[in-house]
Structures are given as C-alpha cells and as structure tokens.
Symmetry: C2
Subunit: 403 residues, 2 copies
C-alpha cells in the first residue's frame, strides 16, 4: 500500500469553492494509486465561527483551564473534517473521519502545547485497507488517560508528518495558500522565485526566521525517517517545493557546494531593541537576563559588550521589560519598530565574504544596520522597520536569488 498524507490548512477548507480544489488534489492522489490520509485544520481564519481563534473568543471574558481550551479547540478540526468528508461522499467517495485520539495519536498531557509520544496507526491502516479515504482531525491527540489535547500552533503540520512517519508514507503534502517555499516573501520581493527542492535543514532555518509556510517541528519529525514533504498550493496543480534529504546530496554531489549558498531571505517585524549600560560584571548581565526569563519575557539578538548589553523584545512586551529593568535600577535605552532581516543558507558557515556582501548591499541602499548576529546557517541584521522592504529586496538581488 502506497500511502500519501495530504494536509489542508484552514484557508484550504474555508469555503465550498476552495474545498472543491482540495478535493481535486485528493482525487488526483487516488488516481495515482495512493491510499490517502487527509489531515485538516479548522475552517478559515478569523471571522469564521469554527476557526480556532473564534472558538477561543467564546471564553475570552472568563477563565479557562488549558485542558478545557483543548476540548474547545478540538471541535474546530472535528467540524472541518466532517464537512470535508461530507463533500467527498457527495462525489461518491468513501471516507472515514477519525479524531486525533481515534487515529491513535497519543500525546503527553501538556495541554494546549502537547507533544506526540507515539502513534498507533492500526485503525488508520485498517480503514485504508477497506478502501476508505481517512480524514484525521489535525492539531490534536489524546493522552493515555483519555484527555483530549492540542499540539499548539502549527500543530496540523505536525499531525501530518507524524502520521507520515508512523504509516511510512511515500510523501506528505502540505497544502497551503502559497505556491511553495519562496526565496523571499513575494509580497515584498516581486521577483522572488519558488524553490523546487530544499533540504529539511534549509526549510527549518527559513521557518525559524519568519517564513510561515510550515512549522519547523513538523519538518524535524519528517526528517527523522526521511519522509519527503511537498509544500504546495491548494489552488494550483503545481508540484510546489519538495523537501527532502536527497536534495542536499544532489546539491553537494552533482552541482558543487557553491551552487546554492543562500536559500532565501526572510524578515520579522514588531521588534524593539533595548540597550542597558551595565558594568562588565558577569553577575550584572546574568541578573538582567534572569529577570527577563522570570517575567516570561522572551529575548532575542543578545549582544554583550564591555559597556553594556543589547537585546530585542517584541513591541508588545517593551513596557513590561522596561518596568523589570527599572526595578533592578537600570534606565534602559529603547528603539521601537525595528525589523529583523535574515539571510538563510545551509552552507553559509565558513564561506568567506557573505557578511561583506550583506553589509555592501545594505550600505549601498543607505540602510543603517543597528545590530547583527550570525549562526552557521543564518546571518541576521536588525534594521529600522521602515527600511525593511528595501533591505529584503537588496539582499535578494545581491545574492542573485531571482535567477
């Protein structure tokens, strides 16, 4: 049995029209001889009564245990799955809807952010063997004690790849509202190109740096058993982007290491930079970061110098961060409305001249680099938010990503 897992996100099942497109993809898979497991998210985004966010708004004014939030949210995918199933049956196809629990997805009891412990795919296999299209509610599982859990944001991607691994699927298709993995956000860079193949590592790095196409957790699961992922648009027949391990080998062997140094350029907004003048004692600096952690404030872009520390928080958390710092006796200097621009490439480490090219591209445009940092796969620059669009375009062009 050749198994294909197809995951449809919220926008891919939101209206009867787009559901028809999703159904076409399912029927294509059947025509190609696959046994099909469909994973669905809740219908639509904000505004739909059955979207996750809308369901959560029902308890906005009250108190709610995480356990009960999960019960509430789980309804979104159940409704979506039954509606899709009904549309497939109308076409004469035979279906079986399974909740996360019924599909054998066992999680720990960290409600609203549970992790999959194991999957018992027996029920799915037997329904597939009976010729059914199995529709699994994404984003949810069940604990050994029978509690309903959700996997946190992006969780339907995780459901799809985890099922792909458990069922030894040939491919996992992630259907979304974009054409695939792009070299940059096409709303910013008009000539951004779709990547035909990327490695698990490349897509994870892009996702961690703000490309919202697929959840990195889902990619890491597929990577463990080397299950290929295709990131595709529901609205087109295009193949999208293939995510494999093989792609990396192909690249290194057949085309040489330098063929694709840079995978893409990404950006995140809504960042405030904080600078604190502090004497170069390890204890002082530690105290600042410990206080941030104790107050649940997530910090990024940490830079420690002899005269002080700099780091970033989200614009939303700035007043809380300032209050914490003042209680410690510091008067921080802040710069709101910054953006982080990232150049991502698996082979970036140790390649000379990459940082030089980035600095050249940005200074040629008159863009001030407020701060920079790098890892073996990514170089980040903090810029003023008003410079972000020009920065992304300049970097995209500098590395010839439109070619």
């Amino acid at each position: 049995m050749r198994i294909l897992v197809q995951k449809f996100g919220g926008t891919s099942v939101a209206t009867p029209e787009v559901r028809e497109q999703a159904i076409e993809h399912i029927m294509d898979a059947l025509r190609n001889g696959y046994a099909v497991v469909v994973v669905v998210s809740a219908m639509g985004r904000k505004g739909s009564p059955y979207a996750t966010d809308t369901l959560l708004q029902l308890v906005d004014h009250g108190e709610c245990e995480a356990r009960e939030l999960d019960l509430l949210m789980s309804c979104g995918e159940i409704i979506s799955a039954v509606v899709l199933s009904s549309a497939l049956r109308e076409r004469g196809l035979d279906t079986c809807v399974l909740t996360g629990g019924q599909a054998g997805i066992v999680t720990n009891d960290e409600f609203t952010n549970a992790s999959i412990l194991t999957i018992h795919p027996k029920r799915i296999r037997s329904e597939l063997e009976r010729g059914k299209i199995v529709i699994v509610t994404g984003f949810q599982g069940i604990t050994a004690e029978g509690e309903i859990t959700t996997l946190g944001r992006g969780g339907s991607d995780t459901t799809a790849t985890a099922l792909g691994v458990a069922l030894d699927a040939e491919i996992v298709d992630i259907f979304t509202d974009v054409e695939g993995i792009m070299t940059a956000d096409p709303r910013i860079v008009g000539d951004a190109k779709r990547l035909h193949q990327v490695t698990y590592t490349e897509i994870c790095n892009l996702a961690y740096q703000g490309a919202k196409v697929i959840h990195p957790r889902a990619v890491e699961i597929a990577m463990q058993k080397n299950i290929p992922i295709r990131v595709r648009s529901t609205l087109s027949k295009d193949e999208g982007t293939l995510v494999t391990c093989q792609a990396e080998l192909d690249r290194l062997e057949a085309r040489g290491l330098a063929d694709r140094l840079i995978t893409g350029v990404t950006q995140t907004v809504n960042i405030t930079q904080i600078k604190v003048a502090v004497s170069p004692s390890k204890g002082n600096q530690l105290q600042i970061f410990k206080a941030m952690a104790d107050h649940g404030i997530s910090v990024d872009f940490i830079s420690v110098t002899p005269t002080g520390v700099a780091f970033t928080v989200t614009n939303q958390e700035i007043s809380k961060a300032i209050q914490v710092l003042r209680e410690l006796g510091y008067e921080p200097e802040t710069l709101a409305n910054c953006a982080k621009v990232s150049v991502v490439g698996a082979g970036i480490a140790g390649v000379p001249g990459v940082m030089a090219k980035i600095v050249e591209a940005l200074t040629d445009e008159g863009i001030e680099i407020l701060q920079s940092a790098d890892s073996h796969t990514t170089i980040w620059c903090l810029v003023h938010e008003e410079d972000m669009t020009r920065a992304v375009r300049a970097l995209h062009a500098k590395f010839n990503l439109n070619k």
Copy 2:
C-alpha cells in the same frame, strides 16, 4: 456526598444573560450543600452557530454517515460546556468539563440514536470529591470501541437522569424555559395551572401526547431507581414541578383516588385523516398498514370498521400516503389540517363518565369529534385544527384543571 444533577437546555445557556441565571441556580445548589453535576445542551436554537441544527446544516448539501453526524453534533455540547465552565471559573468556582465518554457514559453503536448501556461514574465521583463542579456534555456517549455517539433528540434529559441514577443523586433538576409541568399549554389556556407534583407515569403520558417539557425516555430511566426530578424554569427561583413515585402514593393515600383524575390536556397539530373504503377482509386491511410501514409512513389513530379503515398521518406525508394507497388500487378520502386533543390521567381507566364529560364539553362548544380513541391513561379526540384551541380550553374547564 449529596449529589444534585442540574440539566440546562439550549435556551438556558444561549446568552451571557441567561447563563448568569443558570449560574445562580448552580450556586444555590452549592449553598445548599450539594455536590453538583451540571449537564448542558448545545447553545441556543436555530441561528446560533453552535446549536445542533446549525452544525447539521454544515453538511446539508453533502452526504454524511450517522457516525460522522455524531462527531459533528458532539461539538455543540462541548463548546457549550467549556463556555459555561469558563463563566463559573470567573466567579471563582472550580470546575471540570467531561465529555460523555470521559464521564463514563457507554452506549451502543446506534449512531444518532444511541442507547446508554452503562455508566462508569468513577471519574465524576473523584472530581466531585475534589470539590469540583462537574460539567458533563449532554446528549452524547462513547461506544466500547471509542466511537462518539449521540443519544437522539431530548438526549440531554436522558444524560441527566441516567447520571442521576448512576450517581444515586438526591434530585435531578431539568431547567427549561417554562415554569414546570402545566395542566395545559399556557399559550392556549390562560388559566392553566402549574402542577406541583406529578408521577413519572403522568409526566410520560403528557410528554407522549405532545407536552414537550421533558423527554419520556429520560423519565423512564429516573423511574427505575426512583430518582426525583424537578422540572423548573431557569429564569425563576420557583420550585417547578416535582416528579416522583411518592407523589402517586401521596395522592392515593392522603387525598383519595378521585383527587386528581386528570393530569392535563395536550394537543398536537399538523394531522391529516385518511379513510379508505375496503371490504372487511383482514387481508385487505393488513395490506394497507403493511404498505404504509414499508414506505416508512408513521400512522396513528387507527380505526377499523366493517366498511373500511381510518387513520392519521402528518400533513407532510399525505401525498406519499395517497400514492401508496392508489398503487394498491384504493381511492382514499382525506381530511387535512386536523388536530389531536388529549385528556391525560393515570387513573382514567375504568372511571365511568370521563368520555361522557369529554363529549359533553366538545358538543356544548359545537366542536365536531372526527374520531376518538382511548388507552388506560389517555383519551384522544381528533378535531378540525380550527377548533383545537376552543377544544383544549373547554376540556381544561370541564375537568376543573384551573382550580
């Protein structure tokens, strides 16, 4: 532990305002020292996105297996339960929401109309012992194989009384949008009285004859273990109507058999009478009723005479019924827009003069009795729908039910 089960119907949890009233009743029960199990229906009626009927409309245009309809419908009560729980927590109360399955309600696999096989109340008991208000989603259970089922219409009443039995509750409160069990529909009979006490048998007979306050199946379950039910209004502090077995004993012993001969007067509309001239051969008559059954047409008010048969169907089914009869070679005579008026009383059998009083009341009003029938607890008369209101009022007055 003194346990009270409180069931709130869809209209009792539909809006924040009415939910506040429901919460008051729950807090009253806590103040009276009860451990409280709340059973909820889906929120609201038609128009609410989370009402059962609205959820079903989502698959109106497609095909749906009964199993998946149950998955879909189960979301209505889950959403309702979490929303109520959240409102209770806002008041500082500690709650625990349980789905039918988590509450230990095991059913057979007759999807959309499942029957409760057994209840394992261990989880409910342990949550109550921890001081929690346990909120159970009404109308649903789980099969031994883990399939989610619903109990059919009126199923939340059944959940409430079945939990009452399983937990050996002191009382089961059924909160609704009327004051209690009335001697007649107050929209028809202005001076209809609330009954303070009725027996299980009386309330079942009223319910079977069109009084929609509580589902007879739910009453029968409570009756098995003699768990008292109170039918009460969410919007008032009034005690409502107490349904017990004891009431019957009280009535018979303390007040004499004749104290309440008649419980109430009910009515159902939307009936068509059919008469077929047929020779008095058993085979012919059997053929007619068998054909109706084979075509899924439910018949009532059957009367067989030497010259033919008469029976009633709903107005909706009349054209189908005529077609079936014509295929058998009969030309039926039909009378649409009839109503059935019922006089219900547990002690009606063998009491002389009841039928005479009914005939007197109706003929005094110039109301034509099209057909009549009786059982040991009920006497029915078929009248023209336009006479129905006057008929109900006349019977209510004749038996002094307003006293």
